[in-house]
Structure formats: structure tokens, C-alpha cells
Symmetry: C2
Subunit: 556 residues, 2 copies
Amino acid sequence: MSGERLIYMPLGGAGEIGMNAYVYGYGPPDRERLLVVDLGVTFGDMDGTPGIDLILPDVAWLEARRDRIEGIVVTHAHEDHVGALGLVWDRLRAPIYARKFTAAIARLKLDERGGAPESALRVVEAWPEVLELGPFRVGFVPISHSIPESAGLVIDTPQGRIVHSGDFKTDPDPVIGEPFVPAVWEEIAKGGVRALVCDSTNVFSPNPGRSEASLVDNIEALLREAKGMVVATTFASNVARLQTLANAAMAAGRSVCLLGRAMRRMVETAIDTGLLTQFPKVVSPEDASQVPRENLLLLVTGSQGERRAASAQLASQGYMGLSLKEGDTFLFSARTIPGNERPVARIMNQLSEKGVDVIDDAGGRYHVSGHANRPDLERFHDLVKPQFLIPMHGEHRHLREHMKLGEAKGLKGIVATNGMMIDLSGNAPKVAEYVETGRTYLDGGVLIGAMDGVIRDRMRMALNGHVVVTLIVDEKDEPLGEPWCEIMGLPHKGRGNSDLVEVLEAELSQFIGRAEKRTLRDDERLEKEMIRIVRQASQAEIGKKPEVTVVVSRLA
Amino acid sequence: MSGERLIYMPLGGAGEIGMNAYVYGYGPPDRERLLVVDLGVTFGDMDGTPGIDLILPDVAWLEARRDRIEGIVVTHAHEDHVGALGLVWDRLRAPIYARKFTAAIARLKLDERGGAPESALRVVEAWPEVLELGPFRVGFVPISHSIPESAGLVIDTPQGRIVHSGDFKTDPDPVIGEPFVPAVWEEIAKGGVRALVCDSTNVFSPNPGRSEASLVDNIEALLREAKGMVVATTFASNVARLQTLANAAMAAGRSVCLLGRAMRRMVETAIDTGLLTQFPKVVSPEDASQVPRENLLLLVTGSQGERRAASAQLASQGYMGLSLKEGDTFLFSARTIPGNERPVARIMNQLSEKGVDVIDDAGGRYHVSGHANRPDLERFHDLVKPQFLIPMHGEHRHLREHMKLGEAKGLKGIVATNGMMIDLSGNAPKVAEYVETGRTYLDGGVLIGAMDGVIRDRMRMALNGHVVVTLIVDEKDEPLGEPWCEIMGLPHKGRGNSDLVEVLEAELSQFIGRAEKRTLRDDERLEKEMIRIVRQASQAEIGKKPEVTVVVSRLA
């Protein structure tokens, strides 16, 4: 076995929260057989990626080694774990393994984007069943999270056992789905665990996590006491929360109506796969408008303020014939993900203008997190007793804090971020290699590299505006007419109330009038000079330097 | 007195947190004499206002009535109350009144942007001194906040007394500056208060606010126990916090070094105006690099993650010869303003990568808010006992919640947002008029209207990219050569790996080749058609519709 090694490498999800993609390998260096865990996405934002729909890990490294991939295993059906499958499967072409509900969601993702044949996606049974994938034996251990059928992975290799926690919390009573069972993990740990690769999301939350079941009474009371219509928004994938909300609605004599495609699809999938057996019959939006307001609960998408989702639309004009008014109640039964505060606040203010009472998760009464808090992580470390701790699923500060937490209890480990290939074979984990990784953007229907310059140009136009200069030069290299300017995203009037375009054109004309023949002959030089002139004149006139595109047309 | 009325109208700050600008008026309708309270700014962001440096209230309404303005009074020196003075003074040309320190900061603002003559800015003494301004008698009552010399205003009019709270908290021990003194407000309330116009910022904070003094021990302990260099960031204007940090540094045997222009300027101004008398002698950045790390405290700008501020630079390469390393400590002694989470997290992660320990205000140990919390507001209502409560300084949800809080105790009032002119003369406040208001953007060196379309165009280019099409048409209305495309902020390759520019040019050439003479003669039609073709072809090729600029050059 000497000469073989066990490696771990995150391609996404380590150094960020989102787009999870982890790789394990076993074999001789550079010939390891590979196991991919999760292929997720993250979302773009105006701040750094305007116009980008989804962001996914760059899988070039995997693609170049796709003959070595034994399989892609998916821990659970959240977008940040499953969302990139459809976008990259064609480049990897390895079989995908997941539990039933997760596989059903993965199938939707595959069909939505590019896709993979039916045979590529294989449903697996939970632990103690195991899957043989080359040198790996993989078990899917039920673990609680904010989506059903979440799995921690037990990965047995010739160099020992790895526990890959997946996203998890230590909930003994998750309402829907499987609880966290300490005895199972104790059993798993018995023969020794070489490495625990572990969720770090909530390492800064000091108190033990609360159970989903702790919300039931609060939500029921809210729905009983509310006078008008109640609207509740949460992640569609939080099937347990949907059940809790629906139970409370039934108890309070309210009919349930689902709004938003993701919401309807998730409930259907959960019913089809046998997870939701107690969900009430829902009313359609059309029928809902006939139901008295005090007998209605709308379950809607858009808890993060997404502009086109049902929440945003209800907060402005209305949605599918339903609209809100004074006396109604709107419940955010979800946490606002950092960065989404502004769009969420926009919705809250619009609701406030309508006289709708907004209730958020500020008091923790209507929402609990799906991730293990700091004491829960310590408890999990204690159960699994790994030789090495490797924090994952976190920004750098989460990973580092998680490592410090482990070290305080005597655990060895390493902070491994995207692209760091870690050799787990020795007495301590060590960096074997730094692999070039990055992000791929889905822009409309096209995948582009994060460093292609496309987004850089968009941001520059957004910050600085865009000036287009056109100039025609005739066969004798003489300018034909004057240079012409068009501006986009720039003030029309400058400081002295002069017209910006006129000022720019005057400056350019002056330059062209004086330009020597050799300049007029030289496209590159013409362009460079005209860009300089436009930027300089703009700086003087409006105090900023725009992006400039110069088009020189030569008559032949 | 019949036929005269007392009015209140926010032009900014009511329906948002930022760019405060309030107007009071007294006199016959449409001939009221006017009093302006505060002229502040808010900050742009990539999300909604890319490239915009500052946002200020549209003062067109005031400008059209500037002969009726008795004065501009400034409650305190925060940017959101004083920042627009320099940008709009020239349009209003009314005298500005402020207390000494506030006036010193206002003078800097005036000099920085446009400016006003020395004589325009007048220093006033605090209550019980009062200022006679037409029908108004205005008193500046010291009140505690997160900046020294903050004032609540007592505005006496022929129709009674108004209390304009300004930004405030009920701190009995603010370290630097004046405490909140209940007896003063009781005295002010004695003769009856017609209206309390009141800060709403922290209405959702359920517990009584804590005193600045409560931080002293925590901060001192932190500075004593830290091993390496300590960096602390807070708002430069939080002079009390700077003093607390400096005191702790002295106690811990650390020299203080100020980094960032705003930080140095604020400390200088506070010393010059006699507010800071105990501040230690600071070391220059050059000398600081000679001081042992464990004997140094850097006080730095950039607590909100501002890209060019000292915090951001220290987190990446370093700043003025100083850089951070493993074992150093970085303290965020400030709240992250909603919307700034992402840039702040970016800095925290960069620091984490360097091995720097980051301490934020999560536990409330190193920061207290400058605004009155919910119970403090109730206490203030009880002291002032107004006939009407009018919430200000808040988003709509804050104003509404504040009004509900007052109503629960039997107060009458109204939620008044920007542009709502409220008549305070009768038995209940009522809307007299809706005035058109808006936002003005400072873009580079030019002021533009929020609705001018400039920012809309920038956002569109950022989301969709920009295609520039040029076409030359000769004297006989025949196309000269082919249409030419340039793209900016768009993928170069389409779905089928074809070149986007080539595809667009081929489509355009085909159209031009077939175009009838009357189309070629008609600029408008040519433009419209070519835009349609580019957008349609782009949608097919890359799945998105770009912005398009068409330049048709006609040889005459």
C-alpha cells in the first residue's frame, strides 16, 4: 500500500458559504481514483457579479481527470450542493448517487439544465447499506438538517475511515425526516476515524442549537391569534417547516395555499417520494381568493427578497389575484442570509406601507437554523473522535474558528480552502499541492470564467459609464467628417452646464484636425489618443473617467 | 392667528435611514416662513446606484421658496445630517446655525464641496439660549448620541412648542460630551408640547439601551490581554469611543496611532473645539512601525468595509508601512450597517487568512448603539408628553412601529414620509399636501436627478452588457461596407461556441443587404431594426438581451 495516498480537496465551499464541491482521492499520486461529493451553486449579486444568474465551481481539474472519477455522491438537495449537476454533468459524465428525495430533486436540476440520461442518476439506500465505488465504500448516514434525507457520509478507504458530515444539526426531533442519533455516530466511530470533514457554518453561534419542534407552539399561536390573512415565507426546501406551518394552519382553521413554482414543486416532490404524508390538501390561488382572509395561510417563496418571487410581488402589486392589506400578517420564517438585508428590508417596508404586520426571526421564535452551533460541533467531535479535523462549509473565518475549537480539545487538523489538495495519509494532514481553481458563471445561457473580463467590463460600465466614439477615415487617410460621440450612463451636462457630448466632440475634433498623417494611419494610436482625450475631458467636465470604446471605420 | 398654520415636512430621512432633511413652516398657507433642520447625505451602493458617491435630498422645493427660509439649523455633525450642506448651500443661501463642534465639521463640509462664505455659518450656544428666526424660537438642547454636542431642538412657534429630538439616546454617562438629563426635558415639557418629532432608528430593539461607559472595562481588558498589535475601527465621529479606546490603550501601555484621514481630522477638530482634553499624544504611522507590536493600538477608519479605507488596506497589503500578522487582534467597535455585511465579511476573512483574531460586536461587549431603544423611546414620550407624536429617522417599518408604540400609550400622531406636508395646527395632525420630492446623486463632480435615467442605463449595461453597432451609409443611401459590432461586458462565445460578434454581424449584414431604400434612408427605423436584430440574435446565442447603441454615419 506504500506509494498510495488518500487525498481531500475542496473545489468549492471551503472559504465561502455556497457552491460546495469536494473531492476525495485514493491511489498512487496523480493516479488516484476520485470521489466527488456534491456539486452546488451560489448566487450572483449586483455588487460583484451583475447579470450573473448562478455561480459554480470551475471543474476543469475534474474534467481533465474524468476517467478517474468513480462517482458523484450528493449529500442533500439544497441548491448549494446539487444546483451545478445539470450544468457540469456533461463534462464529467460520472454516475450520480443520492437518496430517493435528493435524487428526485437532482433529476429536476439535470432536466432543467443540459441534463444527463436516466441511467446516470442512481438512488441509494441509507446506512448501513454501503456503495462500492472503486477504492471507496460510501455510506449515507441520515442526519438532521433543514431539508429531508440529508446524509452525512461514511467513506471507507484502504487508509481508514472518513466522516464527511454534510450540512447538519443535532436535532433529536426535526418534525419531518430523520433525527440526529448519537448512538449511530458512536458506532461509526468505534473502529477509529481518520478524518472528520465537518460543517462550520454556525461555529460563531455560542448556544446549543434548538430543535425544529421548538417552533411548533409559537407558530400555532401566531396563526390562531392573527386577525387577517397570514403569509409565511421560508425556503421551499425546508419541508419540515412547511409541515409545521401547515399543521398550525389546520389547527387554526386556515386553508393552505402554495405560491411560487419552487414551493409547489418541492411539496409535490416531497409527497411523491413519501416524505410528506400529513400535508393538507391545498387550495389553488384562484380558490384562495374566495376563502375568508382569517381562514387562509399562504406559503410563499422569496424569503431572501428575490425580486421576482412571490413575496416581493405580494409586497408590491399582488400575486395571482391575491393581495395584502391592513390587518394581514407576514411571517419571515427564515434567516436573512448576509448580503440579502437590503432586498428583504425593501419588502418589509413595502408591507409596512400597506399596513401589514411583519414578523421576522429576530426573537428566534419562528425560525431555527439547520446547522450545528458551536457546542453541537464540539459534541459531534466528541462522538466521532477523529484523528484529524478538517473544517469545511464556511468562509475562511468560520474554518479557522472551527479549527481553533478543535485544537482547544486536542484535535489536529488543517484549514483547507478551495484548491488545496490535502494528503491525509501521514501522521498529520499536509498540503500536497495547490490546484488552480476558480468560479464559473452562468450568464444567460452561457458559462463563462470568472476571470474572463466580461464581468469586470460590466462593473466598469456600471461605475463609470460608457462613451462610444466613431470616426470615419477615407481612402487617403483623411478624416471624413468629425468624430462622433454617444454616451450611455453618463450625465448629459457637465459642471458648467455645458453639454458633455459637445465638449467631448469639440476636443476630439481639435485633436483630429491637428493629427499628423502617421497618426491617422495608425488605428491603435488613434484609439489610444482618443480614449485619453475623452477620459481627460470627462474628468474635467464631470469629475469621472468613463469607459471608452473607439470605432474607426476606414473606407477602402 | 386664524389663517396661519404650522407645518412639518420631511424631505429626507422619513422612510429611510439617511439623508435627513426636515422642514418646519409657520404662516399663511403657501407663505409660511420656513426653518430647515439638517441637510444630510446617504451613500450609494453597487446594488442600486453604481458609481454614485453621495445621495442627497432633492431641494428643488426649498430652492423655489428660498426667500422664505429663515435658517438652516444642524442638530449634529454626522454625515447623514450635515453632509449635503456644501452641495446645496449655494441653491438655498440661508444662514446655517450649529453648536461649536458641529459648526467646525460643517465648515469642513462647506469648504470641501462648493462652500459658503464664513458669514453663512453661525455658532450658537446651547439651551437655555435661544435663537430668534422669524416666527421660530429655536433652542439647542444637549442630548446624548454617538457624537459630541448632539442637540435636540426646542422650536417655539405661535402655535406651540415642537420638540425635534434629533438623533439621541438616553445615556447618563456618555464618556465624552453631555449626558441625557431627564429633568431638562421635564422642564421643557411643562408648558405643553404640541408635537414631538422623534428618532425611530432603534424602535425594534427591545431592551433598554446601554451606556457608553459600560464598554470601558471590556475594552480595557481586551487591550491588556491581547498579545500582538491591536487595531480598532469605529466611526471617526464617535469621539467618545475614540477616547475610551485611547484610555484603554494608555492603561494597557499602548501608544495610539491614528490611520485614515477622517480619523485624524475628527480628532483634531475635537481637540481644537475643546471636546477632547485627555486624548494622548499620538504616534505617526512612521514612528508606529518602530513601536513593539504589543505596545501599539491603531485607531482606523473603514468599519463598514469601505474599499479604500484603512481597515480594508490593512486587511489586504498594509497601510502606510504597517501590516498585520498572526497574533494581532482586530476589533470592530461598531455595528455593521445593514447592507454592508458583505464588504465587512470580506475584510474579516482576509484578516482570518493572515491569522489575525477578529472581534466584532456580536456579543455587545465592545459597542453600544447611539440611538434610543424601544423602552428609552417610551421613557422620552413620557417625559415630553406631546400632544402629537411624529416618528422620523427611520424606514417606513420603523416609523410605523414607533407610531404603534405611541398609540399603545394613547398618543395621537401620523406616519409622515418624505414629501408629506403635515398640518400641525388642528386637533390632529393631517396631511396638507403631497410635495414632489426625490433624490439627487453626486456622480463624480456633477449632481444628477435620481430619475434622469443615467443610473438606469448603467444598471442595464451592468446586467445585460452593451453592444455598439456602427453602419456607414453613403450619399446615395447605400450602405458602405458591412455593419460593425463591438461588444462590452458580454461573452465572446455563444452556446454553439460560435463567435458572438460574427453571428451578430452576419445577421445585421443580411438585414442590410435586404433592406429597402426607404429603410436605409430612415435613421430611426434603421436603428430600431438593428437593435431588434441584435437583441434577438443575442437571446438565441447567449440567452440574454444586451443594451444596444446604434451609430449610423451618413456621408453627406
